[in-house]
């Protein structure tokens, strides 16, 4: 399990050297998320349509190491965009990855950009 966890680390925008074209924006639900496969990584991508913003994070919930975050509900806490894990409603900031309602380790966050109606996720390789 350690091994899987270690595959995910937050990528800063300035460090991105690979922009992976995931799918058309139409493939993602409004104000919801879906999971993208990139090599052997699973990345959850969220469309905050109300604010016209996109976020991406590891699909792996750090609580019990299940690949489920993309299926959770998005929302905000005091303006911080967040994702609620569908297993026990643990919430994580999509800006910093921090667990907002517990002491779980932070999740990895990835940059997202939209070009020509396509969703790109940033990686550093």
């Amino acid at each position: 399990m350690e091994e899987i966890l270690n595959k995910y680390r937050t990528i800063k925008l300035e460090d991105v050297n690979v922009w992976f074209k995931a799918a058309s924006i139409k493939a993602f639900p409004k104000d919801g998320g879906a999971c993208v496969k990139y090599k052997d990584l699973q990345i959850a991508v969220f469309n905050f349509e109300r604010a016209n913003k996109w976020y991406a994070c590891q699909n792996l919930s750090p609580e019990k190491n299940e690949m489920v975050l993309s299926r959770g509900m998005i929302g905000d806490h005091n303006g911080i965009p967040k994702i609620a894990c569908p297993l026990h409603k643990k919430t994580f900031s999509l800006e910093t990855g921090e667990n907002l309602n517990g002491d779980l380790p932070p999740i990895a966050i990835y940059p997202v950009k939209i070009e020509n109606e396509n969703v790109f996720i940033g990686f550093e390789e």
């Binding site: 919801g32 993208v36 699973q42 109300r50 019990k64 190491n65 929302g75 806490h77 297993l87």
Partner: protein
């Protein structure tokens, strides 16, 4: 900018920082805090809850970012080993040097371990930090695996009993060993202690009094306690909780004055013998005393903040040591002069009820005018009132015994009468020193509009929590006096209650979450509380399925299945009333085999298929639907099952056809979305094989019709349904149930089952009868019509889903690949399979 260094990061240290951060002068100072423990300050008072499933984060005094947000430098896992008073610097264990203008010692205390021969043996622990608890837990698990079960706690004081509770929570047999002839000798008299002892023993703990331990038996690991009186106690583990010792090492080494038995000497300003160094909390020796309670520690923190920032607060001459807490399920409180230690002449009034395990004592001045102190065991509900009377020197009733016996005859009223009659200076929260005046003015000047607001702006109730009922009463009374309705917002995005949102969506006809949030919310994006709630309301009001606007549905509703441990799902088709044909049973088996699903009969008389991946769900459902099945809504806050016994169709005792009626009811209410899940039961006779009285609605066939029971449930708080109507016919049952369920769906709080809703309904069952049977509110026809619409518009949402290519797109693990989640691993279980266990 002046530098303040705080050594120690416990409750009092945190409180010091919190009070400092709230001070107007805060920006003139830089705070640096050092803690040797590996985590932020946590609540040691509630430490035993760590074994009840609370995490260290739950117990934490502050949020993860608190120190950073307040620009306070926090160094954890760093121990200060040296103070250089001349240079005004401190050094940590790595030799890093930090300079200070003011130094605050909040080093707390360590567990006192008496010098008994053998305390170094394996299996001997102290009860002080989370690390101690973790180590104890590991050892307890090892013992249990070896079949060993006995554990002793050395010390029958307050902490010792807490530790004994913790040991019991670990699943071991706890023995409390006390040197004195009674438990909690510093707080309780003999009568109170005896009562506490018998309560504790009834919980399965053993108490051994007047026992002095000579040495610990065993070679490497502890095997028993050898007492000086030649008796012994065989135990496999020992937790020492025999008192505390102030941590004064670093103060002692730098030449600060310390007491002969330890503790850093301070004056009323909390100054040590060096004017630039303060000591607060359990390391401070004030009035030649160590105060091991949180409330005086917090007062010390306040005094130190004020002294540093130029204020003039000092500690009072006499320090209140009152306590109220729950020990091993028993309420215990003592206040004022509980042990008749003052010089005043005292009259004791004692009430002892061995039958109910209650002991109450109050000490009254000889002239009958003043309450001087008291003890409450088994029932401390009057503690707050008694404490107010004591601390404010309030006038006593003509017959002071009424204070503990209640007024016998005459008008009923609380001891205090109205909470609003308390003087403004009355201290409501002694942990945080919050007065009635502060609570009321927080509301009056608009800082707080509800109990949560009062708690967050005054901090009242954040310590031991014992004053919360009084804070709530005061808040509500103050709001009422201002003509403000008590608010019940569902989350930070809506100040409205579920009931208000119901009305608004109904009247305005909203069909999108955004419309509701934009017009009636507080902005933002919504959250996991308000989204599924509004989805549920719209489904009820517009008679829709959960397939509308799926991103706001609870994730189980989004995938129309229950997510399981490894991110796979369970599939539960409806089997109304539990009746199923052999053909359908075979079909279920064939489908389970085809997709290799784990199969189990549920508690609600149907068959659950586990282990379906998200990609498999639509395939499985296509097969099920082809064989005549439909969604069982096991994933929704909606009707689950109507459990039935076989009834008069087969049973020789049956009074009516329970299966037929159960099927009719299940088909009637299937699919409707409610505040929480709903379960029904129909029994064919009074033997009640369907367990109908444990359901939200239950029917039992009797001579002349059905008896209707409402508001039962199993779950964490089981409750029998209440008898609502007797000997009624099928038609009347349906009429009442339509009205009842619709009334519940309109007015309950989010995630409130019928049982909790009914219990809190003002006017209770009688009121419910007036509304449902007598139609007192004139809404019965509306309720019935709304339910009819829901019944008539029912659609199986899985049939809807498999026939809609747009909906089917949801059921892919990846948006850019048809592959499945390679992370899912199953292991064999008996002749089936299960998810790989969590590591």
């Amino acid at each position: 900018m002046k530098k303040v260094i705080v050594i120690g990061n416990g409750m009092v240290s945190y409180k010091f920082c919190e009070k400092f951060a709230a001070s107007e002068k805060f920006t003139d100072y830089k705070l640096i805090v050092f803690g040797e423990e590996p985590r932020r300050a946590y609540d040691r008072v509630h430490l035993s809850e760590f074994y009840d499933g609370k995490t260290s984060e739950d117990l934490s005094m502050s949020s993860a970012n608190w120190y950073e947000d307040h620009n306070i430098e926090l160094h954890i896992s760093e121990m200060i080993t040296e103070i250089n008073r001349e240079d005004k610097t401190v050094a940590n264990h790595r030799g890093d040097i930090y300079s200070y203008d003011y130094l605050v010692l909040a080093t707390g205390s360590s567990a006192f371990v008496p010098p008994i021969e053998g305390v170094e043996k394996e299996g001997v622990f102290v009860y002080r930090t989370i690390e101690d608890l973790e180590a104890t837990e590991v050892y307890a698990k090892k013992l249990k695996a070896e079949g060993k079960t006995e554990a002793a706690v050395l010390g029958g004081g307050l902490l010792g009993l807490e530790a004994a509770n913790a040991v019991k929570n670990l699943g071991l047999n706890a023995h409390v060993v006390e040197f004195a002839p009674r438990l909690m000798p510093r707080q309780l008299d003999k009568g109170a202690s005896d009562m506490l002892q018998s309560k504790i023993e009834s919980m399965g703990l053993k108490v051994h009094l007047s026992k002095q331990t000579q040495y610990l038996q065993g070679d490497k690991a502890i095997e028993g306690l050898q007492y000086v009186d030649d008796t012994e106690l065989k135990v496999d583990m020992l937790v020492v909780s025999a008192g505390i010792r102030p941590r004064d090492e670093v103060a002692r080494e730098c030449g600060l004055e310390v007491g002969t038995r330890g503790g850093i000497v301070v004056n009323q300003k909390m100054e040590t013998s060096d004017k630039n160094i303060f000591a607060i909390g359990e390391c401070a020796l004030l009035n030649s005393m160590i105060y091991g309670l949180v409330a005086p520690g917090y007062d010390m923190a306040e005094v130190a903040v004020q002294q540093i920032t130029g204020g003039d607060a000092v500690m009072p001459e006499s320090i209140d040591m009152s306590t109220q807490l729950k020990l091993i399920g028993t309420e215990v409180a003592s206040f004022g002069d509980a042990l008749n230690q003052s010089k005043e002449d005292i009259d004791e009034i004692i009430y002892e009820n061995k039958r109910n395990g209650i002991y109450k004592k109050i000490n009254i001045s000889k002239d009958g005018k003043k309450l001087l102190g008291g003890i409450l065991i088994g029932d401390s509900s009057d503690y707050n009132s008694l404490f107010q009377i004591y601390s404010n020197g309030m006038k006593l009733p003509e017959a002071p015994e009424d204070l503990i016996l209640g007024s016998r005859g005459g008008d009923e009223g609380g001891l205090l009468g109205d909470v609003m009659d308390l003087p403004d200076g009355a201290q409501i929260c002694s942990c945080e020193s919050v007065t009635k005046g502060q609570i009321c003015s927080a509301i009056e000047n608009g800082e707080a509009t509800d109990v949560a607001g009062v708690i967050s702006c005054t901090k009242a109730g954040t310590g031991c929590g014992g004053c919360k009922p009084m804070v709530t009463d005061l808040t509500n009374a103050t709001l009422k006096s201002l003509g403000i309705e008590v608010k019940e917002g569902v989350c930070e995005h809506f100040d409205l209650s579920r009931q208000d949102l119901y009305k608004i969506i109904q009247v305005k006809g909203y069909t999108k979450f955004d419309e509701v949030l934009d017009n009636h919310g507080n902005g933002g994006h919504g959250c996991e509380l308000c989204k599924p709630l509004i989805a549920s309301l719209m489904a009820t009001i517009h008679a829709d399925t959960a397939n509308e606007e799926y991103a706001i549905q609870d994730s189980n509703d989004r995938f129309l299945a229950n997510i399981q441990r490894n991110g796979t799902y369970s599939v539960v088709p409806r089997i109304p009333g539990g009746e199923i044909t052999p053909e359908k049973l075979i079909a279920l088996g064939e489908i389970a085999k085809k997709y290799d699903l784990y199969t189990k009969v549920t508690g609600g008389v149907r068959i659950d298929l586990f282990g379906a991946t998200v990609n498999q769900l639509p395939l499985i459902w296509k097969d099920l639907i082809a064989h005549g099945f439909e969604s069982g809504h096991a994933y929704g806050k909606s009707l689950r099952t109507v459990k039935t016994c076989v009834g008069s169709t087969w049973c020789r005792y049956g009074m009516d056809e329970s299966v037929s009626f159960g099927i009719e009811l299940e088909n009637r209410y299937r699919g409707i979305r409610a505040p929480h899940k709903i379960k029904g039961g129909v029994s064919g006779c009074i033997r009640e094989c369907a367990e109908a009285r444990g359901k939200d609605f239950g029917l039992i066939a009797v001579e002349g019709g059905w008896n209707l029971y409402l508001g039962g449930n199993g779950g964490a708080t089981p409750r029998h349904a209440e008898l609502f109507a007797e000997q009624i016919d099928n038609e009347t049952v349906i009429k009442y149930l339509d009205r009842y369920l619709m009334f519940y769906m309109r007015t309950a709080k989010p995630l409130q089952r019928t049982a909790a809703w009914q219990e809190r309904l003002e006017g209770g069952l009688d009121y419910l009868k007036e509304v449902i049977i007598e139609d007192k509110l004139g809404i019965a026809e509306d309720l019935e019509n709304e339910m009819k619409t829901l019944v008539n518009k029912f659609k199986c949402e899985w049939t809807q889903a498999v026939n809609d290519p747009e909906i089917m797109k949801r059921f892919n693990h990846f948006v850019n690949s048809k592959e499945e989640d390679s992370n899912i691993v199953f292991v064999p279980l008996r002749e089936q399979k299960m998810p790989e266990p969590w590591k």
